[in-house]
């Protein structure tokens, strides 16, 4: 069964389509990169799949169900800049949020949840810092904390928004080996990625997007000069030109 099915997805901001007519069938057990230039709609696509934005047209299914019925099985790691790092919260409490998905509306974390948090922190080598306020961590450590939170959620699909931005070499390696490990246990990982440098090393498959879906397939097959040029190329497609004229 497909993990994620996207049919004819169009999402607009202020009546201008950010992504248009995207179709995807994503199977389990792979690490998939979403690449494209700035403003190509990478984040929009990701947020659309996550059900955070209203669609103009189209349909998204996760494990064959509506997103609302699959929420426990997906986790999202936002970009680091998005957070208020002065927020009074420590590492442990951030990771515990991963368990919230499994708690009833009224209900507190149990010892089992605490144990999972502890294990995850150990796994990601952050157990020494569990009581530390998040401002007092390095950029790489901060990123690892949010990875730990996703792991604590024990989900089946992971969405990562630019996880490699501003992290040290150690964290980059940790994220990469974690993605591999998750994939090997049958999970699906979608990663928004900016830099084209290590695309082939990191990702099994690529979603190349620039408003429309330019290509989706095995990295080695689609990461070709021609498709990269079409994704990043300066020339506007006919579709975009038409839209410029209409809007």
């Amino acid at each position: 069964m497909n993990v994620i099915t996207v049919k004819n997805l169009t999402i607009s901001y202020n009546k201008k389509p950010a992504i248009k007519g995207v179709n995807l069938n994503i199977a389990s057990g792979s690490v998939i990169g979403i690449v494209g230039p700035n403003g190509a709609g990478k984040s929009t696509l990701l947020k659309g799949i996550l059900g955070l934005l209203p669609f103009d047209t189209g349909e998204v299914k996760i494990f064959g169900k509506d997103i609302e019925d699959s929420r426990k099985r997906i986790s999202y790691i936002p970009q680091r800049e998005q957070f208020d790092w002065d927020f009074p919260i420590c590492v442990e409490d951030v990771v515990m949020m991963g368990r919230y998905a499994h708690l009833p509306i009224v209900g507190f974390p149990k010892s089992g949840d605490r144990q999972i948090v502890e294990e995850v922190l150990k796994k990601i080598e952050m157990d020494k810092y569990s009581k530390r306020q998040i401002r007092q961590l390095s950029g790489g450590q901060q990123q690892r904390v949010f990875l730990a939170r996703a792991l604590a959620q024990e989900s089946d699909v992971y969405f990562l928004d630019e996880p490699f931005v501003g992290v040290d070499a150690k964290t980059e390696k940790a994220i990469f080996s974690l993605m591999k490990e998750l994939k090997e246990s049958g999970k699906t990982i979608l990663v928004i990625h900016h830099d084209l440098g290590k695309v082939l090393e990191y990702f099994d498959k690529l979603i190349m997007v620039n408003q429309t879906l330019i290509a989706f397939g095995d990295s080695k097959e689609v990461f070709t000069p021609e498709l990269i040029n079409r994704t990043y190329g300066g020339k506007l497609t006919i579709l975009q030109k038409t839209e410029e004229l209409i809007s």
Partner: protein, 423 residues
Amino acid sequence: MDIINQYILEPVQYEFIQRALIASITIGISCGLIGTYIMLRRMSLIGDALAHAVLPGVVVSFMVAGKSELALFIGAVVSGILTVLLIGFVNRNSRIKEDTSIGIIFTGAFALGILLVSQLKQVHIDLSSYLFGDVLGVSTGDITLSLIIMFIIIICIVVFYKQLLITSFDPTMALTIGISTTVVHYMLMTLLSMSIVAGLQSVGVILIIAMLITPPATAYLLSDSLKKILILSALIGVLSSVIGLYLSYHLNFASGASIVLVAVTIFLLVFLFSPKEGVVTKLIRRRESVRTVLLEDVIKLTYKFDGSIEGVSLADAIANELGISNSKVQGALKKLAERNLLESPGGKHLLTEQGNDYALKLIRTHRLWETYVTKEKVIDMEHIHPEAEKVEHVLTEDLVDELDEELGFPEKDPHGSDIPRKK
């Protein structure tokens, strides 16, 4: 004892003071707790807006039901929520940004409230007590109401702790796991309207925002933990309103103003002197650290010259090396002697065993740090030395050990010098 009796205990025998005390305590707790979330979610503007916007609701409740606490409660909460909905509606359906639409709606609602008051001469409302607060005039009914409100707020914060936390810290994640930020937002707005109702009598609409913001902000300067901030904020709220109440009673101050001024005074004291981040505390710490750096530099250089230069000329050599005056170095040498780190047999300055250990510790930190930054490619060779000069004074021993372990206990630094081992 007499003073305590006269100024603090004696007033308590009056019933109106008892009522005022209970009202002060409950409002301190309610506002301190809700205000913490208002502060963290950067919503102080909307808090102020709501405080003003409950006025028409209060007046209408008077028109309909006379002086009834229940009607007052319902009127205030309804107009509070209506205001929030209207602000959102204007915001969503035009290009006007949120702060502007807040400004438009709340002043409008407030003006409407004043107009209603002035037109309803047959209903007696003491407008000034709503505007400026009159904690000494609270009735038993008011107290029952604010106690109920306090318990509702405490229960909601305990029961929905995780929803409030996650929507405040990471609303996107809240949405992805199916926690509605809208529902939590309106719950918080309802609780906020309720705490405003509770505070109307004692602080008044104009100043109640201070009770919602100042105690949490003070608590925030004192702690990094949300739970501690909630408790501290409630305590500071209680303290401010009780002290303010006494000032109001003894000196005949307007109660709202004196409560708020006490809260602001506590804030200023913490802002200046808090042990972690106080402005004055930091200043003192910086001066101390300048002194420590000088002493440590002198120790290191004394170690380096190792008795090869004698007496006064050692001070000269050190002063020359550090680019400071000879007298400063003399002073530092004297302090080192006082601390048994240095002895001067026959005019020759030599480090004691203790002083020697200290110097080695500094050198170890310095060289480990250089090794670390070179390995991690943080900065290039040319720049690491001056950087390490600063770092060696501030790294704690634990951190240095951690560094050592992470580097695999290296023997040489990038310049090829030996790294002293830990004793």
